[in-house]
């Protein structure tokens, strides 16, 4: 299983979304969410949204392994 995290405004869209999923890439997770969570999937498709796997920024086609932690990151606003 892959655990998934949503930060910032993505969290608001992901209130009822699953936090674990079976998928082989982050792009596939987004694809899977399109059916039951279309608003969230649309947000994840925004070009500014980054994805990390095990706390490293990666591309959307990064292969996932069982136990990977995938996070979806809207533009950061700290400081």
């Amino acid at each position: 299983m892959i655990s998934i995290l949503f930060f910032g405004r993505l969290g608001d869209f992901a209130k009822n979304a699953p936090r674990t999923v079976k998928a082989s890439t982050p792009a596939q997770i987004r694809e899977l969410l399109t059916i039951k969570h279309p608003a969230l999937a649309k947000e994840l498709s925004q070009p500014q949204v980054l994805v990390s796997v095990n706390q490293m920024i990666v591309g959307w086609e990064q292969p996932l392994m069982d136990g990977s932690e995938v996070a979806f990151l809207p533009p950061v606003t700290g400081g």
């Binding site: 930060f7 910032g8 700290g78």
Partner: protein, 154 residues
């Protein structure tokens, strides 16, 4: 002698400065930056601010930024503190302190650290205004500020 801390509680600038100042008799310059919660956001007064972050990843990203600063400038020590959780107007949010022999290094590094913290570190701000919560949008000016350091912004 770098210190990176993410915490809900407040920080004490005097203590942070004293630590940097006393580290070595070679310290000739200490620059501190403190970011405070302003009472306005988009021309409307705010009630409070809530700061979320990605525990673990934020520390990794901040360490990368501090490492970059140490490669670029001759620094004796660097401290980065960022608060998370609920904050009120006038509260301290973020502290960057840099000690170096010469002032140019400390000034440049402190500015660099803030510029990259702003666009790289995984923090998200939500403001509460008139009982409504709203996620803060990122600012183009912050992306622009970072580009001047000539680092590939991947």
């Amino acid at each position: 002698m770098d210190s990176i801390r993410i915490q809900t509680h407040d920080f004490n600038l005097a203590e942070e400065y004293q630590f940097l100042r006393e580290l070595s008799p070679a310290v000739g310059a200490v620059v501190t930056f403190t970011g405070l919660v302003r009472d306005f956001e988009l021309d409307s007064s705010i009630d409070s601010l809530s700061l979320q972050h990605y525990p673990g990843m934020t520390e990794i990203l901040l360490q990368e930024i501090v490492d970059q600063a140490n490669l670029r400038w001759n620094l004796i020590a660097t401290t980065v503190i960022h608060r998370v959780g609920e904050l009120l107007p006038r509260d301290q949010i973020v502290f960057v302190g840099v000690a170096s022999q010469h002032r140019a290094d400390a000034f440049q590094a402190a500015q660099f650290l803030m510029d990259f913290l702003k666009i790289k570190a995984t923090f998200w701000k939500q403001v509460s205004q008139d009982g409504e919560h709203r996620w803060v949008e990122n600012k183009e000016s912050d992306t622009d500020a970072a580009t001047r350091w000539d680092i590939k912004n991947d």
